[in-house]
Amino acid sequence: MSTYQGAQADLTAATDLAAVRKAISSTTRPPRPSALAAAVTFGWRGMLKVKHVPEQLLDVTITPVMFLLMFTYLFGGAVAGSTGDYLDYILPGILVMSVLFTTVYSGVALNTDLTKGVVDRFRSLPIWRPSPLLGSLLGDSVRYVIAGTVIIVLGVVLGFRPGAGVGGAVAALALVVLFSFALSWVFTTLGLLLRSPSAVMNAGFMGIFPLTFLSNVFVDPETLPSVLKAFVDVNPISILADASRGLMEGNAEGSDIAVVLAVAVGLTAVFAPLTNRLYRRG
C-alpha cells in the first residue's frame, strides 16, 4: 500500500529544474564540524531510529520480559522457596540479560548501513572518521538505558524493592550500560565482517545466549557440577550480574565491579580499534 502511495506522490511531484538550479548555485561550504559535533549528530540519528523503528527495541526487550515472568512464576517457588525471593535474585540478572541482548543490535545496525550503502556516504564526507561509529554507540546507549529501565520498572510492578533504593538501581543500570557499551564493539566488529544483518544477529545470539544461560543470571551455581560451576564463576556475565545484585542491595563487592570494569576496558581496547580499522578499510 505504501508503495502505491509512493507511486502517486511520484506522479504529482516532479523535480523543479529552475529550483534545482537555484538550490545548487546558492551554497557556500561551511567549515567542517568538530569531531564531537559529528559524533553527536550520529547519536541523534540513532535516537531517531529508536523513534521510527521502536519494534526493533521491542524485539529485544520482549524476550527478557518473558523470561522474567516465566522464571519468576513458573520456577521461582521451586528454585528459591518463593516467587518474591526469586524475583530479588533474578531481577538484577535479567537486567544484565536485557541490556546485553540489545548490544547485538549495534552490530546488526552497522551491517545494515554497510549493505544499504549508507556507510559509503558517511565515509565520503569530510568528517572525523570514527565519528559514525562512536556516535552510533552513543545513540545505542540510550537504547540500553531504555531496555534496562523497562526491566527495572516491570520488576518494581511485580514487587521488587531494591535494598539500596533508586540510587542502587541507577548504579546497577549505569554499570550494566557501561559494560554493554564495551561489549557492543565486539558486535560492531562482527557487523563489519559478516555478510548480512541476519547473519550478525544469528552469530551474535549464538554467542550471547549460551553465555547468559551459563551464568548465575537465573540460578545460584552452588548446585552445578564442578566443571560447569567453574565456568559459571569466571563468566564475566556472572560477575556483572553479581555486581548488579550488589549495587541494587547496597552490598556490592568492590572486586566484582573492578573485574567488570577491567573486562570492559579490555573488550574496548581490542575491539574498538579493530572495528575502526575494518570500517576505514571499507
Binding site: S2, T3, Q5, G6, A7, A9, D10, T12, A13, A14, T15, D16, L17, A19, V20, R21, K22, A23, I24, S25, T27, T28, R29, P30, P31, R32, P33, A37, A38, T41, W44, R45, L48, K49, H52, V53, D113, K116, G117, V118, V119, D120, R121, F122, R123, S124, L125, P126, I127, R281, G282
Partner: protein
C-alpha cells in the same frame, strides 16, 4: 575556485585487486573540469571500484590519481571536502524521513541546525519531495529514493560529483528527471563522473567516454569518435509496398553500394556515411516510383560500438580475439 589544472580527474595506472581478481587493472582517466565524463562498461567491469578509489573509499594497490588537484591517498581529506558520491545503492537511511536524511547530511557537513533545516526544505521543494518529506524513506519509490540520494549529494554543491549508475532500475520518466538534474548541475559548473552500463545514457550526457571492460580502458573518446571508430552509419528505409523491395534494392545499390535486406519484408538498409548522398538516394527512390513509408539516417548506436569494442556478442566466440587488436584511443587531447 581557481584551478591549478584544467583537469578535474587525472588518474594514471590505477590498480585494485581483491584476492586474485584484478578488479581494476591499470586505468588512466583525464576528465576536464566542468564536463560530464562517462565510464561505460558491463557489470563487473571495474566501474564501481574505480569510482570508490577516486572518492577515497578504498585505496588503490598501485597507480596515482589527483581529484581536483588533490592526491586521492595523501590528501584524501581534501578530496572528500570537495566531492560528493551518489553510489550505486541509493545511500540514504531508510529508517529516517527524507527531511531527516538531508538535515543529517547538512549537519555532518558543518551547517548549523537552522541552516541545515532550511537547506533541507529548499532541496525537498526543488526535487519534488516536500509532500513526502515526513515519510520514512523505506516507503519511497525507486525514483523518489534516487532523487533524495542526489539531493543529499547537493546539500553543499560539490565541485565534482561521482554518479554510479544513477538510473539503474528507474522507469523512463524518473530516468529523464535524473538526466535533467545532471544537465542542470553541469550548467552550474559541477564536474560529473558518470558510471553507467547504459550506452544511451553516456551518449545523452557525456562529453567524453571511457569504455571499460575487465578492469581496463579499452577505448576512449567523444561519443562521435567512438561511433566513427566502429564504422559509418546507415540509411534505413521502410517501404509502403513490400513488393517494391527488389526494385528499391537496385536503386539503393546503385546510389550507395551494398544493401542489406532486413527481416521486415518492407525494410532494407545501406551503409551511408554522408547525409547528402543518402538524401539523393531517397530522391532516386521517389523518381523510380517507389513509395517510402519512413526512413532514418543514423550513426551506429553506442550498443554496436560497445559490442564491437568488447567483442562480447555471444554468436561470435572468435571475436574475443579482436579485443587486444582494438586500437586504444587514449589520446587525452582528443578526449576533451
Amino acid at each position: 575556485m581557481s584551478s591549478a589544472t584544467s583537469l578535474a580527474i587525472e588518474a594514471t595506472g590505477l590498480v585494485k585487486t581483491f584476492g586474485d581478481t584484478r578488479a581494476v587493472d591499470g586505468v588512466d582517466l583525464a576528465v576536464r573540469r566542468g564536463s560530464v565524463y562517462g565510464v561505460l562498461g558491463p557489470n563487473g567491469a571495474g566501474k564501481t571500484t574505480t569510482i570508490r578509489m577516486l572518492a577515497t573509499l578504498i585505496r588503490p594497490n598501485s597507480g596515482t590519481a589527483r581529484v581536483l588537484g588533490h592526491d586521492i591517498v595523501s590528501e584524501a581529506d581534501a578530496v572528500r571536502a570537495a566531492v560528493s558520491l551518489t553510489g550505486q545503492l541509493a545511500s540514504v537511511d531508510e529508517d529516517l524521513t527524507a527531511r531527516e536524511n538531508l538535515i543529517l547530511v547538512g549537519r555532518l557537513l558543518g551547517l548549523r541546525r537552522a541552516a541545515a533545516k532550511e537547506r533541507a526544505s529548499e532541496l525537498l521543494d526543488a526535487f519534488g519531495l516536500s509532500e513526502a518529506a515526513g515519510k520514512l524513506v523505506k516507503h519511497y519509490s525507486g525514483g523518489m529514493r534516487r532523487r533524495l540520494d542526489i539531493a543529499a549529494s547537493l546539500v553543499v554543491t560539490p565541485e565534482l560529483m561521482f554518479l554510479d549508475e544513477p538510473t539503474t532500475g528507474l522507469d523512463p520518466r524518473s530516468r529523464n528527471q535524473v538526466w535533467e538534474i545532471v544537465r542542470a548541475l553541469v550548467a552550474e559548473g559541477t564536474t560529473i563522473l558518470l558510471c553507467t552500463q547504459y550506452l544511451e545514457e553516456a551518449d545523452q550526457l557525456a562529453e567524453g567516454i571511457a569504455v571499460i571492460d575487465h578492469g581496463k580502458v579499452i577505448a576512449e573518446g567523444t561519443p562521435a569518435q567512438l561511433k566513427a571508430s566502429v564504422g559509418s552509419g546507415a540509411l534505413h528505409v521502410r517501404l509502403l509496398d513490400p513488393e517494391q523491395r527488389s526494385a528499391a534494392q537496385q536503386v539503393l545499390g546503385r546510389a550507395l553500394g551494398a544493401v542489406t535486406l532486413e527481416p521486415d519484408p518492407a525494410a532494407l538498409s545501406a551503409a551511408s556515411a554522408d547525409g547528402d548522398v543518402a538524401a539523393n538516394a531517397l530522391a532516386e527512390l521517389t523518381r523510380s516510383g517507389i513509395r517510402v513509408a519512413d526512413f532514418s539516417l543514423g550513426q551506429p548506436s553506442l550498443d554496436e560500438v560497445f559490442l564491437a569494442l568488447t567483442g562480447h556478442p555471444a554468436e561470435e566466440p572468435e571475436s574475443r580475439h579482436q579485443v587486444p587488436e582494438q586500437p586504444r584511443h587514449n589520446e587525452k587531447e582528443t578526449a576533451s
